[in-house]
Symmetry: C2
């Protein structure tokens, strides 16, 4: 190994049917070695978007060809607003036009939207083909590319249509984060920050201490942040792949966050921005339940704000919030369930009385 050795890490994800590696490092995308595990002479379809294609499609396709694969490319329009059936259909059209069969491998090259759609296309094409996640945003490296959740949005709810489909491997090339706009880097930090309150108090302290390095995309800081985030996510997903219980804690801040995204129209707020603001609300809800002190809410809010994320939610009537949150996938028989912090580093999912949720929402500006 070269001087990059300190900048390489590997995390394994163990699910009941499948174990796969997350490779974290620099210079991975364009290295034929990254793709050496694929069946020789196989067919690979790289799915990306219009923004990522000019940056990384050429090195990835070159490395795949150099390792003996037949490669083609589909570039989708960029953005959460396109995470729908019409865009998914473009992947299926390409696969069928290319004569892709059950042994074809899809490569998701891009952020969370590309990863979710490519993974869902792989889950459904001929009832399931293999795919590889190559996340090029911080958010997708630390969250959406790991754990096998795939899907598309429905006008009435985010990620309502989807599948659990684990990738063959995840390739997190930190070089890709150099071209990431500051706003997207901040959005990714929201999901990094999340792992502190739900699972690791020491990691929360580390993030606070290294926020400046993280915001300027310092590689050494990113390796640690991505690795620790993936370790926590892998640990949780390994215990509860299909989200029958524990896994739901990864949705801290997401019940409020999804309501913000859906209510504003997908793409107005970045997912990480909505989650950042949602965590402030969820922390306050935990405080209202008497689980954590007000000082924790201030601390978390301060960190989220310092990460460049919004902490003030949109001003909506309480009834609108409730109706948006009732379609959350954690809801049961119409009862909304929230991820709450029981102590810094420990989370739980529980139903919360509507009146109490309303009180918290009003404190953050919600109207009657």
């Amino acid at each position: 190994m070269s001087s990059n050795a300190a900048l390489q890490a590997r995390v394994d994800v163990h699910t009941p049917g499948h174990t796969y590696p997350i490779h974290i490092g620099v210079g991975l995308l364009g290295a034929p070695a990254t793709w050496a595990g694929l069946r020789p002479g196989g067919r690979v379809v790289v799915v990306t978007n219009d923004t990522v294609a000019p940056l990384y499609a050429a090195p990835v396709m070159g490395a795949l060809q150099a390792s003996g694969q037949k490669v083609s490319l589909v570039a989708l329009p960029d953005g959460e607003a396109h995470k729908d059936w019409g865009t998914l259909q473009r992947i299926f059209d390409h696969l069928l036009a290319q004569g892709a069969d059950r042994r074809t491998v899809l490569v998701a090259l891009g952020g969370g939207v590309v990863g979710d759609m490519t993974g869902f296309a792989a889950a459904c094409y001929m009832r399931g083909v293999d795919f590889i996640q190559v996340p090029t945003t911080l958010l997708s490296q630390v969250d959406s590319s790991v754990g096998g959740k795939t899907g598309i949005n429905h006008p009435l709810g985010k990620n309502m249509i989807g599948a659990f489909h684990q990738p063959l491997q995840v390739v997190c090339d930190l070089d890709a984060l150099r071209t990431l706009p500051a706003r997207e880097l901040s959005a990714g930090l929201a999901e990094v920050i999340k792992y502190g309150p739900i699972a690791d108090a020491a990691f929360l302290g580390w993030i606070e201490a290294h926020l400046a390095e993280l915001r300027r995309a310092d590689t050494a800081a990113l390796v640690h942040a991505v690795r620790r985030s993936c370790e926590i996510k892998a640990e949780v997903v390994g215990q509860d792949e299909k989200e029958s219980g524990l896994r739901a804690i990864l949705n801290f801040g997401h019940t409020f966050g999804h309501a913000i995204e859906a209510g504003m129209g997908y793409g107005e707020w970045l997912h990480g921005e909505a989650v950042g603001c949602g965590m402030v609300l969820a922390a306050d809800l935990s405080c209202e339940l008497g689980l954590v002190p007000a000082s924790f809410v201030s601390r978390l809010k301060g960190l989220i704000e310092a990460a460049g994320l919004p902490v003030k939610p949109p001003i909506w009537p309480v009834a609108q919030w409730m109706s948006l949150m009732r379609v959350d996938k954690k809801a049961q028989d119409g009862e909304i369930r929230f991820v709450v912090i029981e102590a810094v580093g420990r989370a739980a999912v529980r139903p919360v009385d509507d009146a109490l949720v309303a009180r918290v929402l009003r404190r953050h500006g919600a109207t009657d």
Copy 2:
């Protein structure tokens, strides 16, 4: 048990993650006992089509309500031509409008199209909810409702988009077959006949001996035909749920059959009609390969014809056949693979030289 005891049967399907029963009998749809295993006070969405709804929606919904379920209904347009994303979307729209959550159970009440679409909707809604198959056609009772294959069609290929998703249970009420048009009964017999050549020479003889009873929907004959078909299918699916090998033998006649369906436009030929005719071609291909004598081809063709099924394929150029068959899901790297009969009661999947396939097609009228 009443005098119906002889008319009841149960077959269990064992897959790696899941074991579930197929209940075969009379008077099952409207009996609250059929639904007694559901979570008390749960939500059930019955998905059916415009043809089946007036016949069976009321008794099924009544029995579900009597057993304590909250029930709603979606009726889709009838027919293979509607087995597409647009129709599937109507199920999702209904589920979200009803506030259906992850514990909601879908009931597929209808033939293969309803079963495939409802199963796929259940596989994808919130990344997976439970469903029950209630097949009301012979074809779906003996084939499509068992084994967990779900999906929709793509303009370029049948069942190209789908998932493996096993039902909670399958309810085959033979009373439903009394209202089945003769053409659909014949189409179902094609899949019943299939089980003979691929797995059970004695069953093939039994079908020949009881064809008259089967064609007039005699209940005792149907119980045996449905039970034996489901037993064979359960045995095969139990050994190879995801079709990595053995399961493909269930597709005897289907490579030619899918080409007929796609080439004629979905819905022109019933699936069972295309499979019936496809089996004549596949038997002839097996003969051409020297595996079975010409007398077997004549025998099978005679039975298929006597079952009221077409035995003459459409007249197309060989190149059109080949191009239609190359999108088959069994194809690998552009090479078409066929299910062939090695001996009566034993099948295998193998690639076959294009020239040999062309010779068989020409014998059945294909042009150059």
